[in-house]
Symmetry: C2
Subunit: 344 residues, 2 copies
């Protein structure tokens, strides 16, 4: 593990992206998403994804300069063609437009298609809630989850994020509708550790605890039939709003070669006023103070643990696996990058 | 069980409500909600709730004539004071306004406070989706659910409904974020049947399988920590938008004497177009055709079972428990009702 100062890591990521042709401002936005995920202990959405972004640019399936083209389909509905842009670049540009619009209309939505992976949703929710608005964020993914009672992966991991203004910090939910992530399956496979029964099916659709077999199979929805129903609802909701690909037709968030055809939806709303904010904050404090089942494990409000992790990481430095960091250092080195480009 | 023609049941319910002072149109709307729940096999949201509505009117905590007062807080944000009106009356009035508005703005929201229990959310989702729009519906409830790892009921059962246009019928999700309903706990207590471990806590916050003890305790969120996080997110989202009561301060959906202070939120959106609709419908058919784990149990799409139940009930008649039906017949009988009123 390499322990890195935030600024050092940030500079290297930005340089690596710039060398791949990403304009500085866009490189900053993409790096921000990666590093905020690292800070919060979410390495699956962190800098390990940077080399794939560079590969996707080289392969022409990500446009490093695009910021997306928005069309107001109504006063409060922004239809966004992401123009194959980097996910966070397109997403933040759309979000800024609907956040401004919601201030006068009360609510506004951005339906985004044709942009790359937008990263950890929590960051969008937190940024909007910090400025006093509510965010609902949805995005689809490759089909990795089996329907409840089905034998085949047909539903995305379809995360949902909800940010609500509160003190001392916003309420931030960010969760996938799968029971576990495909990253956890790969991690178990790499460590040759067995899976918990019920987590996954193999390629034949049979239950398995063999992580290697599960990589080609399907992971379970969280929460049984209800979690399946919710994940499916988000799949059709996003597809219906964005006209994006759906189910097993979704591509481009896990590979380096295919155009990313999933959809993203942001809804920004204006809260009722300061009285509601005070009451939400007091309620969340009461939840934190709820007598715990296990005296050693206090009740947690979504977003709290991520903030603690973030503060700890900022103080102690980022822990990034050596191999992951080495790849970024190489991509950030002009001579390596140029010689690589010449080979291609 | 009384097997009833739909029209006969409807006429009796409407008459019972009219005798309680409900204008005919409002009585029709409230009856519609009750009977559609019965048709779909959801008696917990059916006519057994009618006597409580009448009681609430007599107690002055429900206004039978009110339809709610909407104020546009922005072009797309309808702030609704429900004026203590009947839930479905206020809800459908608000929904009609935002559905019309969303046709030009693309999205519109109604944030409703101060109205009574709005009933089965599925019906709102289905009606909107049948007309080609998308609905997200949220409502809070009395705190019946314990936080994950907590010992006390502090979160509502907070259901979410999502309706999306599709053929041959709309996609309709309608689910509570609790693992089971308090109705199921009461049902087990009445039958002296033990609960499944993990369903509930007793009044001391200890896990119990004694249904009678669980009635004064708390029920579990569905899906462990994720379901808890989602239910909590919906609680703060609704409270933040409606400035309604929150957590243990919520009253009036289970009792007959207190003003109902929960909140309801409807968001109506315009789908992308007919291509998206075709792709959603094809995807849902593929889900239905997914090879099942158990050959005898095909994979189900949310809303399908309810539609099958509805068609069966319309053909065979409604099955309503004798006691429940008897109460309605009495309330629908002018002489009984008048003599009762004279006693009060």
């Amino acid at each position: 593990m390499k322990a890195l100062e935030f600024d050092e890591a940030s500079a290297a990521c930005i340089q690596a992206l710039e060398l791949a042709g990403v304009p500085t401002e866009n490189a900053r936005i993409q790096t921000d998403l990666f590093l905020e995920a690292e800070l919060r202990g979410r390495p699956s959405h962190g800098v390990q994804r940077l080399p794939r972004v560079v590969e996707r640019i080289r392969n022409g399936v990500a446009d490093p300069a695009a910021t997306g083209r928005g069309t107001w389909r109504g006063d409060s509905f922004l239809d966004v063609d992401g123009q194959r842009g980097l996910g966070p670049v397109v997403a933040f540009a759309a979000l800024a437009q609907i956040a401004a619009r919601a201030k006068t209309t009360g609510i506004a939505v951005a339906a985004i298609r044709n942009c790359n992976h937008i990263g950890m949703l929590a960051l969008y929710a937190e940024r909007i809630a910090q400025k006093g608005q509510i965010l609902i964020a949805l995005t689809t993914s490759e089909a990795l989850v089996h329907p409840w009672g089905g034998r085949r992966a047909m539903v995305g991991t379809n995360p949902v994020a909800i940010g609500v203004p509160a003190q001392p910090r916003p309420f931030v939910l960010d969760m996938a509708t799968s029971l576990v992530s495909m990253g956890q399956i790969h991690d178990h496979a790499n460590r040759r550790a067995p899976l918990v029964p019920g987590w996954a099916l193999d390629a034949n659709g049979d239950p398995t605890t063999d992580a290697a077999a599960a990589r080609d199979g399907a992971i379970a929805p969280f929460g049984g039939p209800k979690g399946y129903a919710l994940g499916l609802a988000l799949e059709v909701l996003v597809a219906s709003l964005t006209d994006s690909a759906i189910g097993r037709d979704v591509r481009g968030t896990l590979d380096a070669t295919q155009i990313c055809n999933k959809g993203d939806v942001f809804i920004v709303l204006e809260p009722a006023g300061s009285a509601a904010g005070v009451s939400v904050s007091a309620y969340l404090d009461a939840i934190r103070a709820c007598e715990p089942a296990d005296p050693g494990r206090p009740v947690v409000v979504p977003g709290d643990r991520a903030q603690v992790a973030r503060e700890r990481s900022l103080a102690a430095g980022l822990s990034i696996p050596d191999g992951v960091w080495q790849d970024i250092v190489e991509l950030a080195n002009p001579s390596t990058t140029i010689s690589q480009a010449n080979h291609e």
